[in-house]
């Protein structure tokens, strides 16, 4: 493949629409569960292959868009089909593609409406990739909302006891933010149109809009409303524990691994570059909320009885870290944030995968009924140990690299925030060790299925483990990819 073809061929569209094609095929072959499984796996693997191929073949170190597509779409409103991929998108797409493979594999034995399940998982993939690629605000919003429906069904149909409550809560919470986003997008578009006479939703153009401070602040708040709920930042987080807890394994993986990242991505790609002044003013608030969330969620996690809930709250806590990094507003912290997003995706995804496996064997997620798993399933427990420690930020494993970069970045601009944030590491240890304690150590509570990992589970866990270690020990390639785009974003985003 030469450089020219890589520009002319619509790789991004391919990446974006491949999963949807898989969805259609899944629905066509809905009579056969096996066919759907393999279709879903094939599709996700193909997406992974394409994205890895792109990552390898593109000159990822360079700034600017690695790939860019722009077509006419809805002329009446000046909406265009604009996709663009830079380093950050690339990394997040890689993460998406990878986690989706895991999500499909973990749901391999799905007995309840397998075709629909895999179809939804694939739609979700399209939505997420779309969010990471879209550069037209309406297109972005479209994908942003597109993620909701499949997730709603994944939670609501395949979830656990309180699934409907969780699904509705998830839907309403996230939608309430995004509707404000929609209003702001339209208003911004109108303002820009009035100023220049050109009515467009293109990010690059809207960035040039001249706003007075009040307008900017209002728009910024509306934008952030959507993103902050999705992230989720304290105090908008209460949908997350419920959604996570009730979602099926694949849903939790996607939710924690990917959906939360879209919020952060939205901030750095849209909210901050569009409204730099307001963003700057809001940083202390953002940091304060992030810090509160960081501790608050960790504290709550410490008391939870449901292991999924512990991990869910840990997500809130970690995302607090990520937002804190963004609030520090410098290169190192941002790189840390993006890195932490990725490693959090992997570790938390892995934890949810493991919880699903544990649940499969013990039929419970209550800490009281678990314990001593190492005795019957040492391999599984070993992986659990690894991922827990990765999650609590053990150096050399995934989360640490991101966290320390964030801390360094934050400390260099706001020492006090940094110093406080360090405390979060302690509480992360507190709840994670409690989780470990309750699950794998202690006297053995008899699981009804004593089998250790089967081949498929090895296949899921080994890549996750390798990735966790790789991200912890040698995250430099990822950092190199994101460096140039972050520099650009910090300077106000790409033209």
């Amino acid at each position: 493949m030469t450089a020219e073809t890589s520009i002319t061929f619509p790789w991004l569209s391919l990446l974006l629409w491949l999963p949807l094609l898989g969805t259609l095929l899944c629905l066509l072959w809905r009579k056969s569960a096996a066919a759907c499984r393999y279709l879903a796996l094939g599709t996700t693997l193909l997406v992974l292959l394409v994205s890895v191929g792109l990552a390898v073949s593109l000159e990822t170190g360079a700034g600017g868009w690695l790939l860019f597509e722009d077509y006419r779409w809805i002329d009446a409103y000046g909406i265009r089909y604009t996709l663009g991929m830079d380093g950050i998108s690339l990394l997040l797409i890689l993460l998406t593609a990878f986690l989706q493979v895991i999500a499909v594999l973990i749901s391999w034995d799905m007995r309840k409406h397998p075709a629909l399940f895999f179809a939804l998982v694939l739609v979700l993939e399209t939505g997420i990739i779309g969010v990471f690629l879209a550069l037209d605000l309406v297109l972005f919003y479209l994908f942003w909302e597109l993620m909701l429906i499949p997730m709603f069904f994944l939670i609501g149909v395949w979830g656990h006891e309180r699934r409907v409550y969780a699904a509705v809560k998830f839907f309403l919470f996230t939608l309430s933010g995004s509707l404000l986003l929609l209003l702001a997008i339209i208003s911004l578009y109108l303002l820009h149109g009035e100023q220049t006479g050109v009515y467009t939703f293109a990010l690059a153009a809207l960035k040039q809009t001249e706003l007075n401070f009040t307008q900017e602040m209002i728009f910024y708040l509306c934008f952030m409303a959507a993103f902050v709920v999705k992230v989720p930042l304290f105090p908008f987080h209460t949908w997350l524990p419920d959604a996570h807890t009730e979602a099926p394994a694949a849903g939790s993986v996607d939710l924690a691994g990917l959906l939360l990242k879209t919020g952060v991505y939205g901030m750095i790609r849209f909210a901050f570059p569009l409204f730099p002044l307001a963003a700057e003013k809001s940083l202390p608030v953002l940091a304060a909320l992030a810090l509160i969330g960081l501790f608050y969620a960790a504290w709550i996690a410490y008391l939870q009885f449901d292991i999924k809930r512990i991990v869910a709250y840990s997500s809130v806590s970690h995302l607090g870290f990520v937002i804190l990094g963004l609030a520090a507003w410098n290169q190192t912290a941002w790189e840390g944030s993006v890195l932490l997003m990725i490693s959090h995706g992997v570790t938390t995804g892995a934890l949810f995968v493991m919880i699903a496996m544990i649940r499969q064997r013990t039929a419970t997620r209550e800490v009281d009924k678990l314990g001593g798993l190492w005795q019957s399933q040492p391999n599984l427990s070993a992986f659990f140990l690894l991922f827990c420690f990765a999650s609590l930020g053990l150096p050399g494993l995934a989360n640490f690299a991101g966290e320390i970069l964030i801390l360094i970045g934050v400390f260099s601009s706001q020492p006090l925030w940094g110093a406080i944030a360090v405390g979060g590491i302690l509480f992360a240890a507190a709840y994670m060790l409690r989780l470990l304690q309750e699950v794998i150590w202690g006297p053995c509570c008899e699981p009804f299925d004593k089998s250790d990992l089967c081949r498929r589970e090895w296949l899921i866990l080994i890549p996750l483990a390798l990735l966790v270690i790789w991200l912890g020990c040698y995250p430099q390639p990822a950092l190199d990819v994101m460096r140039a785009p972050i520099q650009l974003l910090l300077q106000g985003g790409m033209p």
């Binding site: 909302e145 429906i149 609501g156 509705v168 839907f171 309403l172 929609l182 209003l183």
Partner: protein, 471 residues
């Protein structure tokens, strides 16, 4: 009345004469399905005719215009009626409808609606409105095995008649003030110093009551849920879509004709829009009956459309028409699904009765889910661009508060749209096993589904069309 005038009204003529023909034929030949399909064909022909045949006159008899706008409306209403006839095939069998009467009445309703939206004088408006309202009285009570149908018919009849009184009184007041029934003259005559004359205001007040009843604005909406619930599902579909749409489309040029003098009326519309959006949304929240929920949802949607209506102009009109089409597709589809689920002795409409149907009848259930999502305005379904257009118009015209309320209510509305979906897909199976749908139903539901998906992903052509036909 000369040949040219008749030619200009060819689609309406086809509908009305066709209706008569079907009516008469139905008396001889008792083949229900044949007459329904026949009627559908006639409606399609009328739609085609309206779409393709360039009428020789711009205005017929000083009462009806044949502008692009009117033709567009004719096409839409004819198609709706065709769709109704198509979806009623099995339903009519099930409830032993008189095939000829049913088809004829619906065809005549189409004629009435198309005349209404083509009206260019108050006489035409009155006659067009009455034409299809009269037919609806009958159609609502058409199902003679159902007590509820009779009750619904009664309710609609009483309110309809009262509303007719208001409409007529309003027209009379306007006529008193201006001495003309023709829109252009009457509306021009009403204006005084950039505002409306008091008599004109009084007339408009009466008109608004009548219109408020027809398109069920709060506080004139109370009949809506009862009638929708009691009427046969296909008829509820027509009432929620075409019947309301025809009134709205007739109202749009009327309001536009007032120009800047419409300030007071717009302020009332502003109030009504807010009341309607909030009232419809909140009242729909606790519903546990699919048809009642859709009724209240249609009330709320009328609120949105009222926003577009009062904004008017190119932006508002475009948003209104687009929204109307998209809303009609989804609402009609939803009622279509209910139609297709109907049993011989009753319709399945309580949530408790559709528990877990999603996996038993996946295609119809997913279609219903898609329609509801579209109504909720979730992308990538067409409802999203509908709402987008409304909010866009509202913000563009400075009605920020309406946009904000609209956003708020569409957020709340999500809950009641989700409830049936939850019941369908996320609850365990109840005891019902419904019959599998027939081909006609699937064709129709499939095309509705495809349309809302298509317009959700690529609304460009429809937007352009709508912009083209606006008066």
């Amino acid at each position: 009345m000369n040949l040219l005038e008749l030619q200009s009204l060819l689609p309406q003529l086809i509908l009305a004469l066709g209706a008569t023909a079907v009516l008469m034929g139905g008396a001889w030949l008792e083949n229900r399905r044949f007459w329904l399909l026949c009627g559908m064909l006639l409606a399609l022909v009328a739609a085609l005719c309206a779409a393709l045949y360039e009428p020789p006159l711009l205005e017929v008899a000083g009462m009806y215009s044949t502008s692009l706008y009117a033709r567009f409306c004719t096409v839409v209403w004819s198609l709706t009626i065709a769709a109704t006839l198509l979806i009623s095939c099995r339903y009519a069998d099930l409830h032993c409808f008189g095939g000829g009467e049913y088809a004829a009445l619906l065809l005549f309703a189409a004629a009435g609606m198309s005349l209404l939206s083509a009206a260019s004088s108050f006489v035409g408006l009155f006659i067009g409105l009455e034409a299809f309202t009269l037919v609806l009285y009958i159609l609502i009570a058409f199902n003679r095995t159902d007590n509820r149908g009779a009750e619904a018919g009664l309710k609609y009849l009483v309110f309809g008649a009262v509303a007719t009184g208001f409409l007529a009184f309003g027209i009379a007041l306007i006529y008193t003030a201006t001495g003309s029934f023709h829109f252009a003259e009457a509306l021009a005559g009403l204006q005084l110093d950039g505002g409306l004359r008091p008599l004109g205001l009084a007339g408009w007040a009466m008109l608004l009551v009548a219109i408020g009843f027809k398109i069920s604005l709060v506080p004139f909406h109370l009949w809506t849920p009862d009638v929708y619930q009691g009427a046969p599902a296909p008829i509820s579909g027509v009432m929620a879509t075409a019947a309301k749409g025809a009134v709205l489309t007739a109202f749009l040029p009327l309001l536009a004709g007032l120009g800047d003098a419409a300030g007071e009326i717009k302020s009332v519309l502003w109030l009504l829009a807010i009341l309607t959006m909030l009232g419809g949304t909140f009242a729909a929240l606790p519903q546990t009956n699919l048809k009642r929920m859709l009724a209240y949802s249609s009330v709320a949607h009328m609120g949105y459309m009222l926003v577009a209506l009062l904004i008017g102009g190119e932006v508002g009109g475009q948003a209104l028409l687009f929204y109307l089409v998209v809303y009609s597709l989804a609402t009609f589809g939803a009622f279509g699904v209910i139609t297709s689920w109907a049993l011989a002795d009753e319709e399945i409409q309580e949530y408790a009765e559709i528990r877990g149907l999603g996996y038993l009848h996946p295609r119809r259930s997913s279609a219903l889910a898609a329609f509801l999502f579209s109504l909720a305005g979730i992308p990538p379904l067409a409802g999203f661009f509908g709402k987008f257009g409304i909010f866009h118009a509202a913000l563009r015209s400075g009605y920020t508060e309406l946009a904000v309320i609209g956003v708020l209510t569409s957020l709340i509305s999500l809950y009641y749209y989700l409830r049936p979906i939850i019941v369908l897909f996320m609850q365990d199976r109840s005891a019902y096993q419904l019959r599998s749908g027939c081909r006609e139903e699937f064709i129709l539901l499939g095309s509705c589904f495809a349309a809302i998906l298509l317009f959700g992903v690529y609304p460009g052509p429809l937007l352009e069309l709508v912009a083209l036909v606006l008066p």
